[in-house]
Amino acid sequence: MSYFNVLYAFVALPILVALYNIVPKKIRPILLLLASYAFFFSYSKFLIVFVMLSSLSIYLAGRKMSSLESKKKEKLEGLEKEEKKAVKETYQKNKRNVLVFTIIFNAFFLFIFKYLGFFVKNTNHLVSFFGGNNFLPIIKLAAPIGISFYTLQAISYLVDIYREKIEAEKKLLKVMLYLSFFPTVVEGPITRYGDIKDTIYEGTRVTYQNFCFGYQRILFGFFKKMVIADRLNIFVKIIFTDYMSYSGPAIFLGAIFYTILLYMEFSGTMDVVIGSAEMFGITLPENFRQPFFSKNISEFWSRWHISLGQWFKDYIFYPVSLSKPVKKLTTGIKKTFGNRVSSLTMGGIALFAVWSLNGLWHGAGYQYLFFGYYHFTLILLGNIFEPWIVAFCTKAHINRKSIPYRIFQTVKTCILVFIGELFFRADGLRAGFSMMKRILTDFQFHHIGREIASLGLDIKDYIVLAIALLFVLGISILRERRIPIREKISKKPLVLRWTLYYVLIFAILIFGAYGKGYVPVAPIYADF
């Protein structure tokens, strides 16, 4: 059941809200768990057992680490300094073993379901160089929905207990709900146990305001997905399937449209997800913060899929940059080349690890790895050249805070993002390069009008798209200025408020790209 299914948003959700308010407070988290498992089952049927296994494994590991910690504290009482050190080391080692074993256990399922096919394909390819043929059998496995998301949540839970940032949960039910919570399980945001434990198990009654605010957010998500993303899908699908028939400008427009489509689909899903949770008084972290207003790629990734970026920062970037080998290497570099080269090396190594994993997290394929390294290179180059750019601007009397310069930075960043997303969407790396080649060499601008008209959208569709994009842009500007839109609207007179809501609802119903002749975008991030 997709979040954009009417059955989810306008039948199951209101029924759940009603039940949630009827049952006693203590039962409410159990009801959420049952709803989450029913939701998971509707997607993945009996593969639900894997999310249960993950929950059980991290629950037991958390309890074990907690008991080791208590035992350590007991043993430390009355010991001498040297003995204390030895005891601490022993228990730390045991805790680390539990942590590593449980991470491997969870990552193993992720590997089997997501990367085994890629691994087999490459192994067979390698063996074929030595004359072997189909060395390993190709196995196609259907993965449990959201495995990439809940596995990261599972790892963060374990590491946070290991780092003593949170306490291990005593109730299995709570851990099960944390990993499978129905609004987040398919496409995130990747939550941290410490951030949501207070609200998710609280069982606060659904208030009228939360209910209305939740639905407003859900409707905005529907608008982005159905009016914009699903409409753009027609254009994008044709361009990326048959790019050889189109000129460079049309392909570049396809890349722009795909990036917008991806943003509208994913951020629209987040609106539905966050709105759903908001109804139950559960505040989920935002996953997008107007990414197209970014001035460089690094900033872009701090505004796009924020929860994933934060996860990589906390669980990959810092551990790698602070690891013993990296520290040892950068200390040596510091002595010879100075502080700047040393910190660039340390950051570069950690960034490389982050973007390798980020690429692979998005999919088992070379174009995803390329996508990761593309951004790694841009961020690293940005870090290297930053002081020179600052010096150049000072010399050339360019005000880096002026509006034209900021617009230039934003446009430059957007273009770099469009190129990255082109490779991301292309049917393999070869197709990506081929499309790029056409963009750079085939400037047939005189065909563009005819081509745009032949890509499945008519003039009325383009008008709807333009108006819808302006509407989303307006909302984005207000959010960037931290204006609380829903609160502001809620203070307006009833007639004006309701008119706004009806306009939004009927804009979706009438101008939504659904039904005959339209193929809705499949939930893109759910496959990652």
């Binding site: 059955l7 009228y208 890509l455 119903l509 009438i510 939504g512 039904g515 005959k516």
Partner: protein
Amino acid sequence: MKNALKSILFMGIFFLLLIGTSYWLLPQEAVYHYGIIKTAHYDILGEEKDTIDVVVVGDSLIYSAVSPMEIWHEYGFTVFDSATQGQLIRDSFKHVQVAVESQHPKMILLEANVLYRDAKNKPWSYDYEEWFKMYNPYQGYHNNWKRRLLTMFQNEDDFTNINVFKGFKYITDSEPTTKTNYMKKSKKKKKIPEENQRYFQQIVKYCKDNNVKLVVISTPSMKVWNYAKHNGIEKFVSSYGIDYVDFNLDDTIDIDWNTETRDQGDHLNYKGAIKFSHALGAYLKKTDLVVDHRSDSAYQSWNEGYRIYQKSLK
């Protein structure tokens, strides 16, 4: 209490607006005759009364294989696909009734596959989804805003644009199949579920009472069809004196299962549909029940529709 009343009022206004805008979007002549709900549910009601000669009823095999506009262009026959995904024969019966009531066609072609679809195998949500579709006037017609904006002040319906595909689903995706020789001769017979047999009897009687020729057809499908099903249908429908045409056995169609199926032999894609529509048109011609309307002035909206249909093909 105040909030509950506000919610009820909000929903009440919403439904009023829904009905108002539905009336604006749907073919108004049909709404006048059949009401909003029925008009929205049955696409054939968007066609001008008594203009369709052949109605093809069935599931996704039909709307993937029969392109009425191709048949119009080549033979001048007016054909309409009254087909829905995973259609059950009980729904086919309703489609037949609506088609006869609104169009009085010369022929009804019923896809044999619906005779084997067992209602018991449908998920629990099927009835709910059908109910929802029925009461959602926007499902099929919301895109009519494009046409309505142009004809804002026009009282009469212009049938040219309402449904230029005439029920056909234009899909160009291609995914080959590795299967070969799926129609291997055999003496096996697949039994038709009893409930479906009863619905078929009702369809036969209804068509006879209304003087409409009923023919059962099988469209090419490597995945769905086989000789045991062929035998089962042939024996069953002949006992009612109904013709059965299995296009899976027609070698002249020559479907290329590498390029002319969209999903590994299950459904045809647009290329396959062109071939099949040509074969179906040739069959209809042989029956001598339908006539060429291409130069008939009353059918000019079909010629204009064909022009738009061609433009819509990417």
